[in-house]
Subunit: 256 residues, 2 copies
Amino acid sequence: MDQKTPPDDLVSHRRARAPKKLRDQPLYQQVDNTIRRRLIDNVWKPGEAIPSEMQLAAEMNVSQGTVRKALNDLVAENLLYRRQGLGTFVSEHTEHRALFLFFSIVGDEGARLLPESRVLDCAEDIVTPKEAERLQLAPSEMVVRFRRVRFFDEIATIVETITLPLEHFPGFGTEVDPPNNLFRFYQSAYGVTVAKADEQLTAVSATEEEALLLGIDAGAPLLEIDRTAKMLDERPVEWRVSHCDTTKYRYVAERG
Amino acid sequence: MDQKTPPDDLVSHRRARAPKKLRDQPLYQQVDNTIRRRLIDNVWKPGEAIPSEMQLAAEMNVSQGTVRKALNDLVAENLLYRRQGLGTFVSEHTEHRALFLFFSIVGDEGARLLPESRVLDCAEDIVTPKEAERLQLAPSEMVVRFRRVRFFDEIATIVETITLPLEHFPGFGTEVDPPNNLFRFYQSAYGVTVAKADEQLTAVSATEEEALLLGIDAGAPLLEIDRTAKMLDERPVEWRVSHCDTTKYRYVAERG
DNA sequence: CAGTGGTCTAGACCACGCG
DNA sequence: GCGTGGTCTAGACCACTGG
């Protein structure tokens, strides 16, 4: 077959009116976008297997190799994972994934532990200007706001404030208690999958209240992590400001 | 051709004594390693073009597609970059690369600027135990240790201490002054290419001296970035501890 | 055993940069 | 025009998983 006997589905417009030239998006990008769309729309749900390469190739009228390139790109983004002999699966927020993809606090030996949590307070409210900016909400929208203390090995280490747009999380905090692994809960209870997060780190001084909660002196230095978590389509769904006592635990990153 | 009429160079041993079974490394991995080795050994230097896919494929007796997979993996690691119609090139520490790959401090508007630097002191010395651990040196080895203040828009923002193993940087600090863009200097003057870095972030209190240098109060919270920079072969080459005043500038990261 | 993904090849055409 | 990388296809065999 010539490079393309126009594959109908994806590229019905491609070269329909253009005998030559006219560079569209590459085929594998169109496949990528199609699959991405289905993930966003929850057509394929976290944990489930998606169709095989051959099936996708047949459906989209492209070669297996083209589908493979798209799939491998999505695997590189951690949206899918593949197991030889089994199939291709939609990533989910298991303990492990939450730990290694979205949690960067480790102990002196580099061991990662998911901390325990105790909720301090929780209420619905109108967005503050800052929250509206971070969550891209209109000035009058409602949010759920709650604070909690997090413990590593029984030692209070983090105080954090979390804000969620009520629109995506109806009944949150009033009908149910926030569990420890929030991302997994967002996914299972609300169908909201967190795919990426932007973080800004600064150093701040502990307030009186924080000092009391963490068992340290007021004014002691704390690491502030200001994090906006986003869905697959880049829409922000959670704003979290964490104040961490870094005397026993540190934030780690790898660059390059 | 059958999947492999044993390509001589890379896999002379592969299936030499094994009629079946015996899984070695995939071919594209062997190609990857061969190229990586040449980068480590400076056979191909930063900024230079490496041979074309066809040439490499011919040299290593594999198909163009196999070479391509290896090259694309190396591009994903930022060790190479490719320009259509031109060729494949070894990455170098340009201002841009230094800025976006190894520098994470940005202003309120997210704009990235490379700060100016003023060196405070610089001397050769025997390693401390901490330095020996970070740089993986024997207890009696010599290092160069220097401190500097860094300025964004004329405002002192960072105080940092940098330690280099003298072995890799003979004459550093005594015969030449440390320039502002260190990574580029390591590369051009010593042939040392920094390929990755591990960072640990904590919050600390400003010492009297730091407070004076940064124009803040003693005890004010500072962001400490403890960074070990490594070469292509993972050997550490620089240890840097930066104390940053994050009232005007922040550390940013992206996860997921 | 059949079906999945993983590796490898061969060859086509396209888009780009340069002489 | 020629050589580079970029996209796409077709088809082979291997390795793993499950029934």
